[in-house]
């Protein structure tokens, strides 16, 4: 029996505004608990919210980028529920009149480009954080995150499998980072999603009963959680059981989803229009200002990289696929001319290191200036490409500049022909039998001589010079 999967995704994007949605407290990540909190964020009696327009501008930028309708008048509603990290006992969100309506996002699938429709995107405030495992017998509350602006983007149920869901999230990540709407930092929760998953028999016009997997915060988990959930649902249906509509959590350690306690979702949220805020009106001039300052998106950047830096289409595409990587490339390019080598390094060596540590380049100790310097030292033959790699390892680990490392470790390449000749003479003198064999036709031994020279120079000899002089001497 053939099954098909239907997935809709709600993405929560934390907007990169300096201050919160309804207060002027900072949104900076990683501060001591309860320090980015003011009277409004902790819901003291008598305080009132006031809207941060910057969050609206970012939401509108997103809306314009996906070709949505922008509601220039939008209203806030209260979603009422009790929880210890929700100070007011309600969340201010948008229900009936969200800022963004409709739109589409293109994703890359194995079958090619697929267009996913966006239902809506609305602004809301985030809750604080509850910590249940650090204080014996107590729960701790950190309100730093309370009131941080979120854009919740709801897709139509048009995603057909876990891989497409990942592609959708990657496209979303690329878009929001390019738009400077969010820093997109998934490990810090800036981009997370809820996946609504159901299965049905192929050809069945009715949707199956769905479950909602909450709060998934990495591409890998999106794929694993959905795959687990699809298998679980199919197994249940094939056993003649039914799927229960419920909210589930993905446990990455056990690689499974399991139901959340029913209390946590059996709420009647009693939505009603927020009486403390007037409808928010965005003027035509504000709309025009947003359009006039629209940032370059990935596709445009890709074309410009190929054209302006003479990169291959492939290299341009890879670099432009990540805003952070593209920005790093562009900043480095201001201080070196060998763009091709720069691109190669970023895509190859550096990409591998970042992947291994699962970090973005702006979270590493590398700086664009240091990388450009490394490229320049290889380009002007101060060091060899091979030495470059060991210098890079040191730069990556310590954040030192290449010149500092070259200087302190004496790694400067020997390009002086006289010095190289002298070393080659020594090697020839010390290895008479190999010389005889080579001259007798065993040409593979050439590599042996190069190796010996490199050994004596600790790899610092300019390989081109070594090759040329060796060939001459061994005639």
């Amino acid at each position: 029996m053939a099954w098909e999967t239907v997935i809709g995704i709600e993405t929560h994007v934390q907007l990169s505004t300096k201050t919160k949605l309804f207060s002027r407290a900072s949104t900076e990540f990683g501060k001591s608990p309860n320090t980015n909190v003011n009277l409004i964020d902790c819901g003291l009696p008598g305080v009132l919210p006031s809207v941060n327009k910057e969050a609206f501008y970012k939401a509108i930028r997103f809306g314009l980028a996906v070709g949505a309708k922008i509601n220039q008048t939008s209203i806030f509603d209260r979603k009422n529920y009790f929880y210890a990290d929700l100070p007011k006992g309600y969340q201010i969100t948008q229900m009936d009149l969200p800022i963004v309506l409709g739109g589409t996002i293109d994703i890359e699938t194995e079958e090619g480009i697929k267009t996913v429709n966006i239902t809506r995107a609305h602004l809301e405030e985030d809750a604080g954080k509850s910590i249940h495992d650090q204080f014996d017998g107590y729960s701790a509350i950190d309100l730093n995150r309370a009131g941080t602006p979120l854009l919740e983007i709801v897709s139509e149920p048009e995603i057909s499998n876990a891989k497409e869901a990942v592609a959708y999230m990657k496209a979303m990540h690329q878009l929001v980072t390019y738009l400077d709407v969010s820093d997109g930092n998934m490990s810090q929760g800036s981009l997370r999603c809820d996946a609504n998953v159901s299965v049905r028999k192929v050809g069945d016009p009715e949707l199956g009963t769905r479950t909602e997997i909450k709060n998934i915060n990495s591409f890998r988990f999106v794929e694993k959680a959905i795959n687990f959930e699809v298998k679980r649902q199919i197994k249940q249906l094939e056993n003649g059981e039914t799927v229960t509509q419920e909210t589930r959590l993905y446990d990455s350690v056990k690689d499974e989803t399991r139901p959340m306690r029913s209390k946590e979702f059996a709420n009647d949220y009693r939505y009603f229009p927020e009486p403390d805020l007037l409808p928010v009106v965005i003027s035509d001039k504000e709309m025009q200002d947003i359009k006039d300052s629209f940032p370059e998106l990935a596709k445009e950047k890709e074309k410009r990289f190929a054209k302006d830096f003479g990169l291959s289409e492939y290299d341009a595409q890879i670099l432009a696929s990540s805003k952070i990587m593209a920005d790093f490339f562009e900043q480095s390019s201001k201080e070196t001319k060998n763009y091709g080598l720069l691109a190669n390094w970023l895509i190859g060596e550096i990409g591998a290191f970042l992947n291994k540590d699962a970090i973005e380049i702006n979270q590493s100790k590398l700086t664009p200036a240091n990388l450009a310097m490394l490229i320049n030292r290889i380009d002007d033959q101060t060091i060899s490409g091979k030495i470059g790699k060991s210098i890079f390892e040191e730069m990556y680990a310590s954040g030192s500049s290449p010149d500092e490392i070259i200087e302190s470790q004496g790694l400067k390449q020997i390009s002086d022909d006289g010095a190289i000749e002298e070393i080659i003479s020594t090697v020839i003198q010390e290895n008479p039998s190999q010389v005889e064999a080579y001259l007798g036709g065993k040409e593979k031994l050439f590599g042996f001589f190069v190796g010996q020279v490199m050994k004596l120079t600790e790899g610092k000899a300019n390989p081109n010079a070594v090759n040329a002089i060796l060939k001459e001497k061994l005639k």
């Binding site: 809207v51 009790f82 309600y90 009693r270 009603f272």
Partner: protein, 485 residues
């Protein structure tokens, strides 16, 4: 020299003539409050800080503001930095705010001296001040009688002559009805004229702060200071401020006053009707014209109000959960237990009743029938007023269907009985319009109030009409004997 029953104008003269210092005035005020402690109109006194401030004002010897050195009382739902703010609720009985409400801040910046926080119905929910955690307030005119509510402590403190004026808040009549019951003047401004920042919310779309005083003129003095746009309250109106003192004392010849057909006054106590007719005659002799008007949807005011106000209150009061501030029950189990016990022990019956009504009105399946319908009716009521004001300048009604009543005599069996106290006052909150209550004689030896409702932002007109009335009558000068206290 006694300072009791003095108006702001009179105290200003005494201060300017150095007949009394601000420090002496403040001390006298505290002494008076202490002597009249039995009234129970104060929840918390601000003795040391108020005397300190009075000394500073005496030293500065600056009299550029009419309020400089004048003692005032603040309703205990305005947050006051460093001074306990309880909303007359157990749940906030230990709450000391770290900030001051804008309305109070403006009055204090004008040099006035906060001498204490006044008793009120718990979270402003009530019309008799009997829901206070801190006990009933006596009406200065008669011991054992209510002062009205919810700003009952403020009204009693002014009526007893302890302070010349006090702040109040009005969600459905909470300034006007106690002003009427205590024989003083109180005005609820247009929604948005006074910032709500720092006012502990009951029903956000209806709440509005205003003054209670011994005259319309003193109300104008206070309202002048309290008004103004506040960037911290986006619902406060961004309008140019007008000096309300300048707009009073204008002739009212040709003023068109509407009498609402649908308020069948014939059903009221005949003495209430007589006072109303007397006031009508006075206005007629002063040149005003009376016009019968129709507000076709006005009869729906009370049910509309009692859908919207509890709905907003049920949400506004969610923050009182025992987690971050206020009362927390002891010996609680899990989080839900903490909520249930803290809120069950912390809130009084009337507050719980309204939270339940409001939660019901907003719940899935009932929202359309109650909250949404009520908002639609509210719109109709607003439109009725807008239409009426095309042909009239203001509307006149009694403030309250009756006068102050004995403790425990109303609403104990049936809360609806008390809800009808607000029959004439509620509609101006629903429509966001300004309205004033002025004393206009006694009914069965207790003061009765006359209400003037103005058009949107026309506080100048109702204050002027009230002032002219007071220039041509002496009802506002009546004082309770205070012999029982």
């Amino acid at each position: 020299m006694s300072i009791q029953f003095k108006t702001i104008r009179e105290l200003r003269e005494m201060l300017d003539e150095k007949a009394i210092s601000s420090e002496e005035l403040t001390n006298e005020t505290h002494k008076l409050a202490e002597d009249l402690k039995e009234l129970n109109c104060f929840v918390t006194m601000n003795k040391d800080a108020s005397i300190e401030k009075a000394k500073l004002i005496d030293q500065a010897d600056k009299t550029d503001s009419v309020l400089s050195g004048i003692p005032l009382a603040q309703k205990d739902l305005f947050c006051t930095e460093g001074l306990r703010t309880t909303c007359s609720s157990k749940i906030l009985s230990n709450f000391i705010p770290p900030y001051t409400a804008t309305a109070v801040m403006k009055l204090e910046n004008a040099g006035s001296i906060t001498i204490g926080k006044t008793n009120m119905d718990e979270f402003a929910m009530g019309s008799s001040n009997e829901t206070s955690y801190f006990g009933n307030v006596h009406n200065p005119w008669k011991k054992g009688y209510v002062p009205g509510g919810s700003s009952g402590g403020s009204a009693a403190a002014v009526a007893a002559g302890i302070v010349p004026a006090a702040t109040g808040t009005d969600t459905g009549g909470s300034i006007r009805q106690p002003a009427a019951h205590c024989g003083i003047t109180g005005i609820k401004p247009t929604y948005g004229r006074v910032s709500r920042w720092g006012m502990i919310a009951f029903a956000s779309s209806l709440d509005q702060a205003g003054p209670l005083a011994r005259s319309a003129e003193d109300c104008a003095i206070l309202l002048n200071e309290m008004s103004g746009h506040d960037s911290k309250d986006t619902t406060s109106l961004d309008i140019e401020s007008t000096d309300l003192l300048n707009s009073i004392n204008q002739p009212i010849k040709g003023l068109k006053i509407g009498i609402v057909k649908e308020f069948s006054l014939g059903d009221l106590d005949s003495e209430v009707q007589n006072r109303f007719e007397d006031s009508k005659k006075l206005y007629e002799t002063l040149g005003a014209e009376f016009v019968e008007i129709s507000l076709p949807n006005i009869s729906a005011s009370v049910p509309t109000y009692y859908s919207i106000a509890p709905a907003e209150c049920s949400s506004n009061l969610s923050r009182f959960d025992g987690v971050r501030f206020g009362y927390r029950a002891e010996n609680t189990g899990d989080l839900n237990d903490l909520y249930i016990k803290s809120r069950s022990e912390g809130f009084g019956d009337e507050v719980k009743r309204r939270i339940l009504i409001g939660t019901y009105a907003l719940s899935a399946g009932y929202y359309d029938a109650y909250y949404k319908k009520a908002q639609q009716v509210r719109r109709l009521i607003k439109n009725d007023f807008a239409l009426a004001f095309e042909s009239i300048d203001l509307i006149m009604t009694p403030t309250s269907p009756g006068t102050a009543f004995a403790f425990g005599s109303k609403g104990t069996q049936n809360p609806i009985e008390l809800y009808l106290e607000d029959l004439f006052t509620i509609s101006s909150n629903l429509a966001g319009l300004p309205a004033i209550s002025i004393p206009h004689g006694n009914v069965n030896s207790m003061p009765a109030g006359l209400q003037l409702i103005g058009n949107f932002l026309r506080e100048d007109q109702i204050l002027n009409a009230a002032h002219i009335f007071q220039q041509n009558s002496a009802f506002h000068l009546d004082k309770p004997s205070m012999e029982e206290f």
